[in-house]
């Protein structure tokens, strides 16, 4: 791995973000990334965070039109409440702060604690849980669906709404709407290696793949003999469509897990479009790249988000962050 010591990878990366992005204030000591002009007068503060290892999510999505702050935890470990409390204080302009939380037990618990503590400090806080991964059965027998690729859609669209000056309840409602209309499915062709462990998180012989993986190097729901890009798109898009049944056009995120070349991702994007056309699902926009990653895992995920005209307008609105940037 390209690193110094495993204990410092997150701090080292934050130093690099500070060096590369003068528009961000990176508090390495306290693990908080805030846009330089925060708090933005009259604007709801948008805050997210989670374990590191998913870059550019979340720190790379801080900036005008998206997040006001991000709280990176250790690799694959939710941040601690202190981080969110500090970030909330930094971005609150008096209009309140919205926490965007991926649905993992650790994230849920730490953000919940932070919400209470921030409210104790007089900050108005609301939270929205992102839970889009259809590979996980949503029942009382699981921790519920994981939050994966839809996080990008939620952060972008809610960010645009906040940017327009929408009040907290409205930004929260829009974020909930995006979550409700988004579904994902991921596959791994090779596991990832965490700095702390230093070896692959699971064994996956060449010639096999894992269907239904998340973004934390966990094994998936099922192991299969290697499939073609065509076959994988069939399975992934079918899993998503079966659950989502969109009647409106969709945003498509063809997301790389980290080590899959863009060349392959684009080929996979073509297959995803093929299946969508076969299933008569209209495509509004397509984004292809490494956005919600799992360190150096090879593989990809597909996220669809059904959008009406308003959500599409918010998606197209200008955004200016290290990881997503257009329209300005």
């Amino acid at each position: 791995m390209l690193m110094n010591v495993a204990e410092n990878v997150v701090a080292d990366a934050l130093h690099g973000m500070a060096a590369a992005h003068p528009d961000l204030v990176v508090d390495v000591e306290n693990r908080v990334i805030v846009r330089r002009d925060a708090p933005v007068e009259g604007k709801v503060g948008l805050l997210s965070g989670g374990g590191s290892g998913h870059e550019p999510l979340h720190g790379g999505f801080v900036g005008p039109g998206m997040l006001d702050a991000a709280c990176p935890g250790e690799v694959f470990t939710s941040p601690v409440p202190d981080q969110m409390v500090r970030a909330a204080a930094a971005v609150d302009s008096g209009k309140g702060v919205l926490f965007l939380v991926k649905n993992y037990t650790g994230d849920v618990l730490n953000f919940r604690m932070a919400e209470e503590l921030a409210q104790d400090e007089g900050i108005q806080v609301a939270s929205v849980l992102v839970d889009d991964d259809v590979a996980v059965t949503d029942s009382t027998f699981t921790a519920g669906r994981r939050g994966t690729g839809a996080t990008l859609f939620v952060e972008k669209i809610a960010g645009a709404a906040a940017d327009e000056g929408a009040p907290l309840e409205r930004v929260e409602a829009i974020a909930r709407q995006v979550v409700a209309q988004s579904r994902s499915f991921g596959v791994a062709l090779a596991p990832c290696t965490t700095p702390a462990k230093g070896s692959p998180t699971f064994d996956l012989p060449a010639g096999e793949l894992e269907l239904g993986v998340g973004i934390h190097g966990e094994p998936g729901r099922e192991r299969r003999a290697m499939m073609t890009s065509h076959e994988i798109a069939d399975v992934a898009v079918d899993a998503v469509l079966t659950d989502l049944e969109p009647r409106l056009p969709v945003l498509v995120l063809v997301n790389g897990m980290g080590a899959t070349p863009l060349l392959e991702l684009y080929g996979f994007a073509a297959e995803v479009h093929r299946v969508l056309a076969e299933r008569k699902a209209a495509v509004a926009r397509t984004l292809v790249g490494n956005y919600v990653t799992s360190l150096d895992m090879a593989g990809a995920s597909v996220t669809l988000c059904q959008v009406d005209g308003d959500l599409l307008r918010l998606w197209d609105a200008p955004v200016q962050t290290p990881g997503l940037r257009w329209g300005r």
Binding site: T77, V80, G106, A196, E218, R221
Partner: protein
């Protein structure tokens, strides 16, 4: 100090010794978490208890309750993940239940831990049988009625009993039936904490 009167120093020794045992077993905890989780439980526990030991050394609290509350706060502020708030809550609630007594009896500790373990269940929404730390914590607290050694043995047995279980809470639940056949990392670290308690108690 009589066998049944535990003072602040005893709890500091428990926490410090826990930092050592967690550090020693970190790789194994991570390995277990790698099979059905995200391979960070060992480093999470190591980071958290190292902070606990450091904080207690720097400013040793005067009562058992204060020791556990300070330790719990450190865990909440340094661990993250699921285990940070859960273990943090365990220790803080236990400490709170112990009040500001200078010494506590084993029975008072057992009652305190019961409150702590119940708080963990409430916070995480899990029950014994869900393949979590509760499967070690819950029987351990009951067995403390007998002895520290019995508690440690019950925790260990509880941890080993998670192997055939299918996870219903935490990350391992995503795996469905594939979670069967692996020991839960959190139950294993809980057993480690009770083993350390028994050692410290002599």
């Amino acid at each position: 100090m009589s066998a049944s009167a535990l003072d602040a120093a005893f709890f500091v020794r428990w926490m410090t010794a826990s930092a050592a045992s967690v550090n020693r077993e970190a790789d194994r905890l991570t390995e277990l978490d790698s099979a059905i989780g995200d391979a960070d439980h060992g480093s999470n526990m190591r980071r958290g208890f190292a902070a606990v030991a450091k904080a207690l050394e720097a400013e040793p609290p005067a009562t058992p309750g204060a020791v556990l509350m300070a330790a719990g706060r450190q865990l909440v502020s340094t661990v993250g993940g699921a285990s940070g708030p859960l273990y943090g809550t365990l220790l803080r609630r236990t400490g709170k239940a112990l009040g500001d007594a200078e010494q506590v009896s084993v029975d008072e500790l057992r009652a305190g831990l019961r409150a702590g373990v119940d708080a963990v269940g409430q916070l995480g929404g899990a029950a014994p049988g869900d393949k979590t730390m509760l499967d070690a914590l819950d029987p351990a607290v009951d067995a403390l009625a007998t002895s520290f050694g019995a508690a440690a043995a019950a925790a260990d047995e509880g941890a080993r009993a998670t192997v055939p279980m299918q996870a219903r809470k935490g990350r391992a639940s995503y795996l469905g039936e594939r979670s069967i056949g692996h020991q839960d990392p959190g139950a294993t670290s809980s057993a480690l904490l009770f083993a350390t308690l028994a050692e410290v108690a002599g």
